[in-house]
């Protein structure tokens, strides 16, 4: 079993304290996908919808897990970044999947996962293929899962071409999250992304195809918004094709009521066998992506913690336990046991309340102690989830970056790096990679770090601090900020 997840043995315990200990010792992987807004920034009905959805709420992604089932493989459009023949278990990117399931198999798998991973809160159908086009299979899967796990959130991801035909069925099934992939609002640009669509008995190409797709996507967005279904818009950033155009897309989808806009970098390589891959079309650099995201600030809420997960991913964002739940490992008959998920939810309800209170306290203390004009600071955090500093530096495959100033602590983004620690000992060149990953950041908080890497980091101008092990991220980050801004060290330590 993956060492980065909460052991289910740890969750057989009933009390919150024991659960807390279980998480501190084993931890759960964290990641980021969604709005970073906390409840006070949202109207209550929206918060109710997103509070357990890791992809729609940055706060929720610390606690809750998602799973995707690939039950709807048929698609009604062709995209230049997709090759339908591609399948590799080692590839992690959208649309890639190793195992296609029938609705019956999918329902069984969901129950098996719910029994093992109490953090599970969301079931998504996200390809390969289009969930709204291959609707019979999507609907059958949702029906079966809903009958057995009524409290699981259902969501789907679609290109929007077929969606208007099914919006009211979504409403009937209480589906209140839909992701639309919208890469353009100008059909001329669409012609460079979509070679064809299948629409009303014909394969359409060129401008006609892009025009129809665009109109249906806008219709989908409007219909969903009118019915109060939360819409996340995913856009693939393709340098030289739609990179600048995505600013206009951002404005338009915000105007039409999208809840979140997730701009993702194109993943492209010749070995993927996609049109873009074979043409040598490159993906954007991290700096180009950030520049575009920054330019979109003030538009629809930008999602900064997407991990571009596989279409059969299982687990908290940033981890994938899909390989533990392939169909050959799922029993023929599984009975849903709700007790673990219920215990976990109770724990989260209390825990996230405490975390929020701790963050408020930390903010007040910082405001009292630090000059309001003091410069903001970026701090990297090694976490396995739960909103705490609970990961060994050497086990971190990514760092969450937080910004802190007089106004509080905010999640900014995650930065991925290769697993620096392999088999219990670090490798020099991997540490180099971590140092590169942390460019521009001078402080990292982790649960533990060895002396050697700590000294090497110090030489590179990065201070690694393990004094806040298992503290809430906000509490620890605030304390470091206060310490750096003139407050006596012992007071900062108390906070």
């Amino acid at each position: 079993m993956n060492a980065n997840v909460i052991s289910l043995d740890g969750l057989k315990v009933a009390s919150r304290d024991d659960l807390t200990k279980a998480i501190e010792s084993k931890g759960c992987e964290s990641s980021s996908c969604g709005s970073s807004d906390a409840p006070e920034d949202m109207d209550p009905s929206t918060w109710q919808k997103v509070k357990d959805h890791p992809c729609y709420s940055e706060e929720a992604h610390h606690y809750f897990a998602r799973m995707h089932v690939a039950v709807a493989p048929a698609c009604n459009i062709q995209c230049n970044y997709c090759n339908r023949k591609y399948d590799c278990a080692n590839e992690s990117r959208p649309g890639v999947v190793s195992e296609r399931l029938t609705p019956d198999q999918a329902a069984r798998k969901v129950i098996a996962v719910a029994n093992e991973i109490p953090q599970l809160s969301v079931l998504g159908i996200a390809g390969p293929g289009d969930s709204a086009y291959d609707w019979r299979k999507t609907k059958e899967t949702f029906k079966q899962v809903q009958a057995q796990l009524p409290d699981i959130k259902l969501c789907l991801s679609t290109n929007g071409l077929a969606l208007p035909d099914h919006v009211d069925e979504l409403l009937d099934m209480n589906i209140d999250h839909v992701t639309l992939t919208i890469n353009m609002i100008d059909p001329e640009i669409g012609t460079k992304i979509y070679p064809w669509i299948f629409w009303e008995k014909k394969r359409r190409t060129g401008l006609e195809a892009a025009q129809i797709l665009h109109e249906r996507q806008m219709q989908s967005l409007d219909m969903l918004h009118e019915r109060g279904i939360l819409v996340k818009v995913n856009s693939v950033m393709i340098p030289g094709i739609n990179d600048e155009h995505l600013l206009e897309v951002n404005r338009e989808v915000k105007k039409r009521g999208a809840f979140l806009h997730n701009i993702m970098p194109l993943i492209s390589a010749p070995e993927h066998g996609t049109v873009f891959g074979l043409e040598g079309q490159r993906g954007p650099t991290a700096a180009e992506l950030k520049k575009l995201q920054d330019a979109c600030a003030g538009g629809a809420n930008l999602m900064k913690h997407c991990r571009q997960c596989r279409a059969d991913a299982v687990g908290l964002l940033g981890e994938d336990r899909g390989q533990e739940f392939t169909m050959d490992l799922v029993p023929e008959e599984v009975t849903y046991d709700p007790s673990k998920r219920e215990a976990y939810r109770d724990w989260v309800a209390e825990e996230r309340g405490e975390r929020r209170a701790a963050a408020e306290t930390a903010k007040a203390e910082t405001q009292a102690a630090v000059n309001p004009d003091a410069e903001a600071m970026l701090i990297a955090v090694a976490t396995k989830g739960g909103g705490r500093i609970n990961q060994h530096f050497g086990h971190a495959t990514e760092f969450q970056i937080f910004e802190v100033d007089n106004d509080g602590v905010r999640f900014v983004t995650h930065r991925r790096c290769d697993n620096y620690c392999v088999g219990g000992y670090g490798e020099e060149d991997k540490l180099e990679l971590v140092i590169k990953t942390l460019e521009g950041i001078s402080t990292i908080l982790c649960a533990k770090i060895g002396d050697c890497p700590r000294e090497d980091l110090e030489k590179a101008g990065i201070e690694a601090i393990q004094d806040y092990a298992y503290e809430y991220i906000e509490t620890a980050v605030s304390a470091v900020y206060r310490a750096r801004n003139g407050l006596p060290a012992e007071e900062a330590e108390i906070a």
Binding site: P73, A74, N76, R84, K85, R136, F198, K201, K202
Partner: protein, 64 residues
Amino acid sequence: MALKIVVENCTVCGACEFECPNAAIRFESDTYIIDPSLCTECEGHADNPQCAEVCPVPETCVAA
């Protein structure tokens, strides 16, 4: 007058089964096959055979 599916090319997405107006396509032993006795090549239904129109892989739904 019928089409067939080239098994080596088929990605088993099932879009053809979905679109076939004659229910001539079924899933059997890990691939989709066209029943030639039911296939009309979509004469009278559409300009072109629907399976070939929707199939994501070129040269997969071809004349039998």
